[in-house]
């Protein structure tokens, strides 16, 4: 399964946009562009803050209700991150083009259309954050995100981080969580049956994936093998991607 491959990102692949990023992980490839702050249409204008407009375009066909729902989830998360008060009466437009989705050998992907597509949210959010960083948009913090599934096996339930499409198909419940770089919970969406204990478990797992670079820096070496099973260190990935970009931009310093 593609989940074992490390995440990969390219910053500013599109020269004409203010900011852009291409991100691929776990079989998903998403390209994002950020334009803004630009003049907003009269009906979108807020007197005291920028309007964040998120557009999700699926890999094939035109977007429908499902994309509109994804947009509303991302819109509320991203406008928390961007310092919208810095740009009153303007528009910040974020376009997310899904380029590839993982193949699911077990089910016909067409049928999945009816339910909300949870595993794509981390890919979309991560790409949007990278594109915003590439556009040098003033932000409160960066964010990392993970999808966690609760799978019941032989009567006991366990949490699966970075769940594959098959895991999600058979899971009792699926959760998407996002954390800011200050370890605050930014987004929590759940689907399915689960108990409070299970949710606490899910929260801990997601937090470990999203916020672990601080822990590994503190020298907890023993946990490293354990952690690597639970997916890559997203925060470290974000930092190293940006480091490459900043070094290339400021080579003249």
């Amino acid at each position: 399964m593609a989940t074992t491959a490390p995440p990969d990102a390219t910053l500013s692949p599109l020269p004409r946009a203010d900011g852009s990023a291409k991100y691929s992980y776990a079989g998903y490839t998403v390209t994002a562009t950020v334009t803004g702050p630009i003049e907003a249409q009269r009906r979108d204008e807020h007197a005291y803050e920028a309007h964040v407009d998120v557009i999700v375009r699926p890999a094939a066909g035109v977007g429908g209700t499902r994309e509109r729902h994804l947009e509303s989830i991302l819109q509320s998360s991203l406008s928390q991150l961007i310092l919208v008060k810095n740009f009153p009466r303007t528009l910040i437009q974020i376009v997310l083009q899904v380029e590839a989705t993982p193949d699911n050998d077990y089910v016909n992907t067409k049928l999945v259309q009816t339910s909300l597509n949870f595993p794509i949210i981390p890919a979309l959010l991560q790409t949007a954050v990278l594109a915003l960083l590439s556009a040098a948009m003033p932000m409160r913090a960066t964010a990392t995100s993970a999808v966690v599934a609760v799978v019941s096996q032989d009567g006991t339930s366990r949490t699966v981080a970075d769940a594959s499409a098959r895991d999600i198909e058979t899971a009792q419940s699926v959760h998407v969580l996002a954390f800011t770089s200050q370890d605050e919970l930014l987004l929590a969406e759940s689907e399915g049956d689960f108990t409070v204990e299970e949710w606490d478990d899910v929260y801990e797992t997601a937090k470990r994936i999203c916020c672990q670079s601080g822990a590994s820096k503190a020298g907890i070496e023993m946990l490293v093998d354990d952690e690597s099973l639970n997916g890559p260190d997203m925060r470290q990935f974000l930092r190293s991607t940006l480091e490459t970009k900043v070094d290339a931009d400021l080579h003249w310093k």
Partner: protein, 245 residues
């Protein structure tokens, strides 16, 4: 170098030892930093944190994004239309137009003022930049009444470059500090041209020969896109000159 200018991401905590302190001067925060009262300083963009102990200031050095007007910047704008007593000038695409009063040109009176048609380029200074208001421009120094190089740009051609390159070209010593030598090299090769650099990522190039305009523009955009160093810039200039002849 890395230790001197650490990488910061939005929301990172800044090590207090990096924040300069001065007995008398207040701390000045430049672009990319935000003061979160009472006493937290947070970066808002990804870049290298630079501190100047002498001026007691700190800022984040980065490249990219859209130009956001700030007071005192020199920009190259394009006239969109004219109203009764001011021009509406476009500084960056798709943003609200800046206003340039008809009378803020050198020696302009109600009867004699430059007639600018839509599409004309002007080199202007930002006099008012405020997030709640549209920016205002001037083509004359308010204190001396002289143009000081500002005004309508006739002939030539404008090229788009990144904000970082525009900043480097505008540095007082762009060769030593900015590592940009392509214009000096082109001049040394015997080309005659004049340029104006706008902080909004536009470079205007003018010359008697159209070939020279295109060559200078291409040299600048290529330096920008490929991130060429001084040595590579020399090679590029040699190559372009050879191709032209």
């Amino acid at each position: 170098m890395a230790a001197e200018h650490p990488l910061v991401l939005p929301g990172d905590t800044i090590d207090p030892s990096l924040i300069p302190t001065h007995k008398k001067q207040p701390l000045r925060l430049g672009p990319g930093l935000r003061h979160n009262p009472p006493s937290t300083i947070l970066p808002t963009v990804a870049g290298q944190l630079v501190t100047d102990l002498r001026k007691n200031s700190m800022w984040v050095e980065y490249n990219g994004g859209r130009y956001i007007p700030s007071q005192g910047d020199l920009v190259i704008g394009q006239v969109a239309r004219s109203a009764t007593d001011l021009y509406f000038v476009n500084i960056t695409p798709y943003t609200a137009n800046a206003s340039l009063p008809h009378l803020s040109f050198e020696g302009a009176t109600k009867k004699t003022r430059p007639q600018l048609l839509p599409g004309a380029l002007v080199y202007a200074r930002v006099t008012l930049a405020n997030r709640h208001m549209d920016p205002e421009l001037e083509c004359v120094s308010a204190t001396t009444g002289r143009a000081e190089g500002l005004g309508p740009l006739t002939g030539g051609m404008a090229f788009d470059v990144s904000l970082g390159l525009a900043r480097r070209l505008l540095m007082a010593r762009s060769r030593e500090e900015g590592g940009i030598e392509v214009l000096e090299q082109l001049g040394a090769e015997g080309l005659a041209f004049e340029t104006a650099v706008g902080r909004n990522g536009r470079v205007w190039v003018s010359s008697d020969s159209l070939k020279t305009v295109v060559l200078v523009g291409r040299a600048l955009t290529e330096t920008d896109e490929k991130g060429l160093g001084v040595e590579q810039q020399r090679k590029l200039v040699k190559k372009l000159i050879r191709e032209m002849r």
